[in-house]
Amino acid sequence: MRNIILPTIAIFAALFSPPANAAEKTLTIYTYESFVADWGPGPEVAAAFEKTCACKIEWVGLADGVELVTRLKLEGESTKADIVLGLDTNLIAEAKATGLFAPHRLSPEGLTVPGGFSDDTFLPYDYSHFAVVYDSQTLKDPPKSMKELVEGDPAEKIVIEDPRTSTPGLGLLLWMKAIYGDEAGAAWSRLKDRVLTVTPGWSEAYGLFTRGEAPMVLSYTTSPAYHVIAEGTGRYKAAAFAEGHYIQIEVAGMTRTARDTDLARAFLTFMTGPDFQSIIPETNWMMPAAATHEPLPAAFEALVKPEKTFLMAPEDVAANRKAWIDEWLAAMSAK
């Protein structure tokens, strides 16, 4: 037995070893994991900001935006976060309800987010519209409107995400609600036959789509840019819908407990400036929320630019989410 116990203790001891010492001023930013990944914006953003501030950025990467709010609720006032970056507009009401955020008191100019989002606590750093992304090799006649998607040929399938467990799923739910209002339930009942399956998250849906299981998936207008720039293929395209598209705006805010409020505010200012914004398109694969140094790459210029943008007030979403999900469940679970 002893030959198992000793290595076990050694491994636990090694796992418990203390973290590296922090130098000078640090700014702790909670964000989602893919933001801080090697290929994400995190490393470049940190390098650019650290040049201006004689400080060090410490990233804490969590699974996704929902996990960020959960983490804050769990930690309460003892949170180490100075900045929380990566919530979307649907999470704003919940995040504010924690009472942990402080107003930013900034008035950045030149924000280019469609729909004119503005909030006293959260500032946008990028956005994208939800869109049906399709495989142009297998789908020759993509839907040109939500109506065509809902009423189209049930043999041409779409993979969607679950609004109970994912943000894109909730996005589609709100999109349908914005277009159909009280008729949303009936629209879901019609769309149901076209839905191949409802996955727990975006990764599962997109995985099925790129494997060719369905010619359509609910994703973002910016998705095709990745395939063009990183993979050199124009095969996957976003369908422009006549009614307009629901927008997902990613925002950041500073906490009430931030150790150095000037530093936190400096980061938020930096975030809406061109140094930060220029990094976003090709690392986070989203549209920048303000001006960049160079014009956007051609692949971004070629993306679908919705003429009409839907965005519901965060309070309305928070108040109605449960009822709308129930409506969705009833329509989608019926035989």
């Binding site: 037995m1 491994i11 090694a14 973290p19 399956t197 299981e213 694969w285």
Partner: protein
């Protein structure tokens, strides 16, 4: 069969283990129950939940029935045909699905059974135009059988291999064939392990999340596990999540109690420890070959699809990625620590209940004999996300939570692997004790001597298999890390999901290949401990 000192030691070890497992899960649940925030979640048992609970049980029952029933012919064929090319690899297959994240396995299954999958291609060639859709109950069942049939077959094969070799000799001398052999020799051995296997498979299927949603075709296919996740993450109602978990445990415990009534422990036969020889293998070569071919095709095809997808990744670049090295090291360290802890916990769970085998024991022993196996099984029903969140709330009072993350993840993984490990060790230990217990006691070989010189060497093969299972489970686990997730603590599944979440599907496939390969490596020790290959008996 135990000396007085051993009885005392086992009771103590059993008590400590029970205390540890219950406290670790209980404290987390208690903390969450106290963390009521909004409390507007409405009544627990609304019509939605009733429907979800009904579906959870229905799909789990069907999946279990299929997995266990199909495992019987596979295990019999494997037990009969003891020498053929690839047998060892077929046995190793059982471990690989355990180490693959559910999403990876689901995509592998889609490659075979999906709309663009091989099965539909074949049907198309055969002239059928409408593709068969896997999305719905069929897809869930296929995926669950894919995960659990190899596991069930492997555990049953171990039971068949424990039949005293003399029985086969006698049966051959008596001219016993097919049905009689099954009824009199094989079935009693299978019946003894079947309830345990069925219980394990049932719990795995009842708590299925990604598979059920991804392949289920729509929200009509929802398990309680989904509701728990929703309560804890999207609605942030921790007490509701705990109550849902409690409901899940109660429901399943009641069903497992029913299943346990079917099984009945049998008398163990004595053996001189000769190698197993099967005299009935030759006549059945063709039919066994067909069964095993179907089994290999069914479980192997999605794995091969997964692995070949991995080969198309830029493996050279991946192999040089320092982040991957760190994730690999972290994953292996956590898997090793958690598998070791799991075995330490499993030994008392397996051994202590044997104290109560022949009545006349005190109340404490009888309590431990009942509580330990029950806890060792049902722990699988406590969602890791609940334990992890509870411990996060506790540990944040003790400085940086990231520092504690590896230990918590390792312990949670150990607890989740416990039911598997117990299923592997329990029947083996029972047989071993029946064969050596009295002799060891009469020779005065007791305590540590007995454990080190008699028990552990004889149980080498099941121990190696249990260790491989536990490590594979931990390697493929993502669950507990999410809440702690922070820079610097990266495991392979975490890396896989983060690549996948940022369009890097090829990289993700490459990491899946690595995970599958690691799981195969894990099975090497347990295969080399095969008694037949060394020409030795197992006593």
């Amino acid at each position: 069969m135990f000396s007085r000192a051993e009885r005392k030691g086992l009771r103590l070890a059993g008590g400590l283990t029970l205390g540890f497992v219950l406290c670790f899960a209980g404290v987390a649940a208690a903390v969450l129950l106290g963390h009521a925030e909004s409390g507007d979640g409405g009544p627990l048992l609304d019509p939605y939940l009733v429907r979800v609970a009904r579906f959870t049980l229905w799909q789990a029952a069907l999946s279990t029935l299929l997995s266990v029933a199909l495992a019987i012919p596979v295990a019999r064929a494997l037990a009969r045909q003891r020498r053929f090319f690839g047998r060892v690899w077929l046995l190793r297959l059982a471990v690989v699905p355990l180490g693959l994240p559910a999403l990876v396995a689901a995509l592998g299954i889609v490659e075979i059974w999906g709309r663009q999958g091989i099965v539909n291609d074949l049907l198309h060639l055969a002239g059928l135009d409408n593709p068969v859709s896997v999305y719905g109950l069929a897809g869930i069942l296929i995926a669950h059988v894919f995960f659990n049939l190899p596991l069930a077959a492997r555990l049953m094969l171990a039971a068949l291999d424990r039949i005293a070799p003399e029985h086969w000799l006698t049966a051959a001398n008596l001219g016993m064939r097919g049905p009689a052999l099954f009824r009199l020799v094989e079935w009693p051995a299978i019946r003894r392990v079947a309830p345990g296997i069925a219980g394990l498979v049932f719990m795995l299927c009842a708590t299925s999340f990604t598979i059920v949603l991804t392949l289920g075709g729509g929200p009509a296919a929802t398990t309680i596990e989904v509701a728990i996740y929703q309560a804890l993450r999207f609605d942030f109602d921790p007490p509701r999540a705990v109550l849902l978990a409690a409901l899940q445990i109660l429901m399943t415990a009641a069903l497992l109690g029913l299943i346990a009534l079917i099984g009945r422990p049998d008398e163990e036969g004595a053996t001189a420890g000769r190698p197993i020889r099967r005299f009935d293998g030759r006549h059945r070569r063709l039919s066994d070959g067909a069964i095993l071919f179907l089994f290999a095709a069914f479980t192997g095809a999605p794995l091969i699809a997964t692995l070949t997808a991995g080969l198309s990744a830029d493996l050279g670049r991946l192999a040089l990625d320092p982040l991957l090295h760190r994730a690999l090291a972290t994953s292996l360290a956590i898997a090793f620590a958690s598998a070791s802890l799991c075995l330490l916990l499993a030994l008392p769970v397996v051994m202590t209940p044997r104290l109560a085998d022949r009545g006349g024991t005190d109340a404490t022993t009888r309590f431990l004999a009942r509580a330990l196996p029950a806890t060792g099984s049902l722990i699988l029903l406590v969602p890791p996300i609940i334990i992890a969140t509870g411990w996060f709330l506790i540990l944040r009072h003790f400085g940086d939570t990231t520092r504690h993350a590896p230990a918590i993840v390792a312990i949670i993984n150990a607890l989740m692997a416990l039911p598997f490990v117990v299923r592997v060790l329990e029947p083996a230990f029972r047989t071993h004790l029946a064969r050596t217990g009295r002799l060891a006691l009469s020779l005065g070989v007791t305590g540590a001597n007995r454990l080190l010189r008699i028990d552990l060497p004889a149980l080498r093969k099941p121990l190696a298999m249990a260790f491989a299972f536990a490590m594979a489970l931990s390697l493929g686990d993502l669950g507990a890390i999410a809440i702690f997730g922070a820079d610097g603590f990266v495991t392979l599944p975490w890396l896989l999901f983060s690549r996948m979440a940022s369009y890097r599907t090829a990289d993700a496939a490459g990491i899946a290949l690595l995970l599958g390969f690691l799981c195969l490596l894990l099975t090497l020790p347990s295969a080399s401990a095969e008694p037949e290959t060394k020409g030795r008996g197992n006593a």
